[in-house]
Subunit: 332 residues, 2 copies
């Protein structure tokens, strides 16, 4: 295993220390392992938190800041945060208007967030839970009953975060978060596996001439193995899966993300985006907003995920609203 | 070779098409292969351009925009842009106040930018050339006579770009660009090699338990091979090289970048930044500004570079000035 680390046991602690040093706008509680905004908000607003296993950076800590999350709680690599930790993040995000939990659909995350929500409820904090399950590749998978939550998490956190920032109430923030998830579909393809520091070995074996079609963000199996094909064919497969699950009309406007899984160069991500854009243009579907880069990663996995959200006017306006986080920043 | 591409021959053209589709703020001339700002500037200002081989994205195209570059001219992967292309970028950036060429110190780049500068001069465009040569690892190397230009390019482009935006004249912009380069030092370590689409093979062989200490951004050899060590030791080696080349006082304030070479997860980059920050804190040196992420990459190489700039008040103020590009964005 070739990684920059001191010990597999201290990866998360060491990385959080670096995150704290790198971003004065974040406050990192190294004991409780929660990341919050260093400066406010100082007024009542609905709190937004998310969390999950580490190894998907910048998700979620990189999305803490004005216009997006109030707090994040990272677990160990590919391991859910524990209920007490989620409860601490919930408390930190609570300004008296309630807290929304954004939870990617993995069994451990769902269970631990549910326990934390109950504990928070006992303390008088109103919690709404929004499940993200946008990955169309498989119905059930390792770690998951039902669809996996992947790229749409970024869209949910950005848009619901902006709605909370403009003063929406708890049910309003939860409602738009659910709508964004329901309007989003993702599909991922891996060229290589990734290696967790704890295991020291690649999560799966993939021959030199094969790709994993429909891979999950922990290296979970997808739909099938295929021979490595050209980018145009790979994108066609992914877009077919996305668009057959949620057909789009020419009148639809979309937010499209081409996301690197960690080990794929930006040059290739742009190349993939060009193919995605061509597929949508061919169908007359408008790409209204775009993200190309590493946003929901799987350590150093070489691969790409594509997420398409059918966005209404409100979603687009909230997408454009100011955001100031380490990984997404515009308008302020 | 496992990559998302259609053909090794069309990688750059296909990626530029994707870049154009992804960023409405950029104007991409697919024939001349130059990237300019889609909207202005509409007033006289000093133009700033840079370019070099592709494969280092977001450098340079991702730094085109208000407050930074006016134009970029990407060559084929790891290959200098040609003089006519550089000339086209120079013309596009010229608003009558002259153009600064920011050139990383590689033999091909230096030669082709010089030819373009002469051609531009014949057309009456005043050009100043600023050479970036911040890599302390080796004196001469493959591709280079003298030190290689690496991470400091981001600092030079940001700070000189802000100075041009505030109306500095041609010599003033070139002068601060040279000062930033002179105040910056970089050092890189690779865990793996990268593979260019044209060659289809890794640029060098590196045993499973060894690292290349002082690697260049095209995989050029560094100072030596070492056994893989802990992050703390690797950072100590790199910081020792940087700080012995340019000793810093406790009174100094620095801009520090921990840059991923393309295949290293952000989790590890933060971990490395934590170690860098600890080394500087130990010496009482202030880290005034930070960047952690993939800014000057080497395709999918796993590795990290560290750049430290001793920044004066003017540099810090220009660093903080608004910037609006695909890869760096704040204050606007």
């Amino acid at each position: 295993m070739k990684k920059f680390l001191n010990s597999p046991d201290t990866v998360l602690a060491d990385a959080l220390a670096g995150l704290a040093a790198a971003h004065p706008d974040l406050s990192v509680d190294l004991d409780q392992r929660i990341i919050t905004r260093a400066h406010g908000p100082h007024r009542a607003k609905v709190g937004l938190i998310s969390g999950g296993g580490s190894g998907h950076e910048p998700l979620h800590g990189g999305f803490v800041g004005a216009g997006m999350l109030d707090a994040a709680c990272p677990g160990e690599v590919f391991t859910s945060p524990v209920p007490d930790q989620i409860l601490a993040a919930t408390r930190a995000a609570d300004r008296g208007a309630g807290v929304v939990h954004i939870v990617k659909n993995y069994t451990g995350d769902v269970m631990n967030f549910q326990m934390a929500a109950e504990l928070a409820g006992d303390e008088g904090i109103a919690v709404r839970t929004v499940l993200v399950d946008d990955d169309v590749a498989v119905q059930d998978s390792t770690y998951t009953a039902g669809r996996r939550g992947t790229g749409a998490t970024v869209f949910v956190e950005k848009i619901a975060g902006a709605h909370a920032e403009e003063g929406a109430d708890l049910d309003g923030v939860a409602e738009i978060a659910r709508r964004v998830n329901a309007a989003s579909r993702s599909f991922a393809v891996a060229l290589t596996a990734c290696t967790t520091p704890a295991s020291g070995r690649p999560g799966f074996d993939l021959p030199d001439d094969e790709i994993e079609v429909g891979v999950g963000i922990h290296g979970e199996p997808g739909r099938r193995r295929e021979k490595l094909a050209g980018a145009k064919e790979i994108v066609a497969t992914a877009m077919d899966a996305i668009l057959s699950d949620q057909p789009l009309d020419p009148a639809d406007r979309t937010i499209v993300m081409v996301n690197g899984l960690g080990g794929t160069p930006l040059l290739e991500l742009y190349l993939v985006f060009g193919e995605v854009s061509a597929v949508l243009a061919d169908k007359g579907i408008t790409v209204a907003r775009t993200l190309v880069g590493n946003y929901v990663t799987s350590l150093e996995m070489a691969g790409v995920s594509i997420t398409v959200c059918r966005a209404d006017e409100q979603m687009l306006a909230l997408w454009d609203a100011p955001v100031r986080t380490p990984a997404l920043r515009w308008g302020c």
